[in-house]
């Protein structure tokens, strides 16, 4: 009953906010939250498309499940890295971690 385009714009908002967050947050946990926002935007798109354009509505939902599973895995590993980083370098702020520098 709500047109596909509105869902897409809603997902765009979430996606862009996620990108913004991932770019500006200093705290790694904040970045992780932003990344999860991006993944959720993708999920909304998947489900909206599968409901509106796909002959088989199961496909989109199942992809969304896979995305959720991968997001959970990503969060786990990410937070494990945060803890390891915190233990070794005593900081989780990205601008204090610049070993990749010249």
């Amino acid at each position: 009953m709500i047109p596909l385009t509105h869902y897409l714009i809603f997902a765009n908002f979430l996606f862009v906010i996620g990108i913004f967050g991932a770019l500006v947050r200093r705290n790694i946990i904040g970045i992780l939250i932003a990344l999860e926002l991006i993944l959720n935007a993708v999920n909304v798109n998947f489900v909206a498309f599968s409901q509106n354009t796909s002959p088989d509505p199961a496909t989109g939902q199942i992809f969304a499940f896979f995305v959720i599973a991968i997001a959970a895995a990503e969060a786990t590993v990410g937070l494990a890295i945060v803890l390891a980083l915190f233990r070794v370098r005593k900081t989780i702020l990205t601008d204090e971690i610049h070993l990749l520098k010249w």
């Binding site: 990108i19 991932a22 770019l23 500006v24 970045i31 990205t94 601008d95 971690i97 610049h98 070993l99 990749l100 520098k101 010249w102």
Partner: protein
């Protein structure tokens, strides 16, 4: 009763779960948990087996598990005469051995752990017996392998036990990989893994090379699990485990699973006469070789281990000759008397704390229950009528005789003779004469151990009767009934015999009694010609006592070459590669000295110019590489947007 058949393996599994998690609190109660769970399996399994035997019907049910493309994997149970026979064997012997273990293991610090493993094993074995397809069969097969590994290495403080466990696991793995590939080949060729549809699907596919390959690969599983040549080396070492384990896993049930596998796949095997010939060859070779080694073994359990290998070879031969009933029948009788022999040996070890038969002697008076049951079992394995072993061995000999293969028949007779000889060598050395090592103070074992011995002895006497002419060869009719309709007509030797072949019976009895007599001459009388024989046939004797040098051969052929290769590669690395590198280094130094002069005066000017330019450029460009992740992310994202823009723009 049959509709609850799927519950049969569940009870031991519950026993395992309880014992593994709460065993510490249960202490001695752990034995009760396991024994009760086995009894529950008995209570379900035996009526189900009886139902099958009475009605001659097949009971099965299955549920879908996984759909892969066009084919479906299902799991379920199948109760046919074959499964019923095995159920009858496994539940009863398993329960008796667990009762026995409660006495045998009573002082062990890991008492509950032992019973947990045994329960897990029971669960896996029962699953295997009633499994209705190869996938489930293979899974329980592997769980059994794991249990075998855990139980052989149960006293892992002892280095040899830990090594033996590892050896058993790795050696059977070779066969298991083959088995797994065989299942996959079969699945590819016929798209079906169910036992009930095996025959029809094999017929539908025709005798293709792929199916023959599948049969051979599946037979690899048997070779590994049932310790056939050339993978038999693990079973004698497996005797490092506690004796009840040897009785249950490495004599009565698990090693028989390989034979059961062939019997299950009989429709597949019998479609390929050439594969059957391979089976006969391996079986006979194994039986003969193991019997030969058993002649000189001095460790009571090693003798029994080689005897087990030999008898398994017998069964495999019978199946290869196309006689499903003879092989299965011998499997059943052998399970009873071999379990009894092992438990008797365990009782002897428990009473004397020694395993060397050269130290024993005259135990008949000190341990009467153990001795008499042991003698009954020995008579049974030697094939003395009317004990169970006679009937089943006679069936096999008859099958060999009927197949017209005189060499196999003759070899089997010789093996029967050797079997009788080494078993009674063991009996006479252990129970007769006088005690040779006076540090040993033998005593009879407790009732929890002698009780199961007598029950098994009763079994060793009686289980042969269903296959005897007195009951009109009821057993072979039963097995052949619904399972191999159609196949046994093609292979005439699988047909049911009703008349006794007196020639075969005579040969069989003569071989058995002759072996016993010879053993009596050697070890009972004052003559003692064994030393003389040992000296006269020294090469043969050496061959036997060194187990045909199998371990050494494998060590030389497989283990050491790999170690050597590793060492050689290391040396090559150190000498040749390092030398080359060093030479290259020296050469470089020399030539660079020359070049250095040119460099310094001519090239440097140019290089400096380049350097200055590079420095200037990089000083500006390097600011891009900030080391801050988010800057990279920004760049990436902007790039993506730009790419999208150029892509979308027409």
């Amino acid at each position: 009763m049959t509709s609850y058949a799927y519950l049969i393996p569940v009870f031991p599994l519950l026993g395992f779960i309880i014992n593994i998690f709460f065993g510490k609190f249960l202490k001695r109660g752990a034995a009760w948990v396991s024994i009760l769970s086995s009894l529950a399996s008995c209570a379900l399994g035996l009526p189900a087996a009886y139902e099958v035997a009475k009605t001659g019907q097949i009971f099965s049910a299955h549920a879908e598990w996984l759909t892969l493309g066009r084919s479906t994997l299902s799991f379920g149970y199948l109760l046919d005469p074959l499964a019923a026979t095995l159920l009858f064997v496994v539940t009863i012997i398993g329960t008796l051995i667990q009762i026995y273990s409660a006495g045998y293991m009573q002082d062990d610090p890991r008492f509950s752990r032992f019973f947990a493993y045994v329960s897990l094993f029971m669960s896996a074995m029962l699953t295997l017996v009633i499994a209705d397809n190869y996938a489930l069969f293979f899974m329980s097969w592997e769980v059994m392998g794991l249990c075998s590994y855990l139980l052989i290495g149960f006293w892992f403080e002892k280095n040899s036990a830990a090594n033996a466990g590892l050896k058993a696991f790795l050696t059977t793995r070779v066969g298991d990989v083959g088995f797994f590939l065989g299942i996959l080949t079969l699945f590819t060729a016929t798209g079906n893994l169910n036992f009930t549809e095996l025959e029809s699907s094999v017929h539908a596919a025709g005798a293709t090379p792929a199916l023959a390959l599948a049969a051979l690969l599946i037979f690899c599983g048997t070779i590994g699990k049932s310790a056939q040549f050339p993978l038999h080396v693990w079973l004698p070492d497996a005797m490092e485990g506690p004796t009840p384990v040897s009785a249950l896993i490495h004599a009565a049930t698990m090693v028989a699973a390989g034979v059961y596998l062939v019997a299950r796949s009989f429709a597949l095997f019998s479609a390929f006469p050439s594969v059957m010939q391979v089976v006969v060859l391996i079986g006979t070779l194994t039986a003969f070789m193991a019997a030969f080694i058993a002649l000189s073994a001095t460790d009571i359990k090693k003798v029994l281990a080689y005897s087990t290998i030999s008898q398994l070879g017998y069964m495999v031969t019978a199946l290869g000759l196309g006689s499903l009933s003879a092989g299965t029948f011998h499997l059943m009788t052998h399970a009873y008397f071999k379990a009894l022999l092992f438990l008797g040996a365990g009782s002897v070890i428990h009473g004397t704390h020694s395993q060397d038969i050269r130290e024993m002697g005259g135990l008949l008076k000190k341990m009467p229950h153990t001795a008499w049951t042991f003698i009954i079992a020995s008579l049974a394995i030697a094939g003395v009528p009317p004990l169970s072993g006679f009937w089943s061995k006679d069936e096999i000999l008859l099958a060999a005789f009927d197949s017209g293969n005189k060499i196999v028949f003759f070899l089997l007779l010789v093996i029967a003779f050797m079997t009788a000889f080494y078993m009674f060598r063991l009996v006479f050395l252990t129970f007769f004469g006088t005690l040779r090592n006076h540090k040993i103070h033998p005593h009879e074992s407790p009732a929890t151990m002698t009780g199961p011995l007598w029950i098994l002895a009763l079994g060793a006497i009686l289980v042969g009767l269903p296959g005897s002419p007195f009951f009109g060869h009821w057993f072979s009719n039963f097995i052949h009934g619904p399972v191999t309709q159609g196949t046994h007509e093609i292979h005439g030797s699988g047909a049911v015999h009703h008349a006794l072949n007196w020639f075969v019976v005579g040969c069989s009895v003569a071989a058995g009694l002759g072996g016993i007599l010879l053993a009596a001459v050697f070890y009972l009388g004052k003559l003692n010609p064994s030393v003389w024989v040992m000296r006269t046939f020294k090469p043969l004797y050496d061959l036997s006592i060194h187990k045909l040098w199998f371990d050494e051969i494998y060590s030389v052929l497989l283990v050491r070459p790999f170690l050597k290769l590793g060492q050689w590669l290391f040396i090559f690395d150190q000498k040749a590669v390092d030398g080359l590198v060093n030479a290259a280094g020296t050469g470089t130094v020399k030539s660079s000295n020359l070049q250095g002069w040119i460099d310094k005066h001519i090239v440097d000017g140019l290089v400096n110019l380049v350097g200055v330019v590079t420095q200037l450029t990089s000083a500006t460009v390097r600011r891009v590489q900030t080391g801050l992740v988010q800057h990279y992310l920004l760049i990436t994202f902007v790039s993506v947007i730009l790419l999208m823009y150029f892509h979308v723009k027409p």
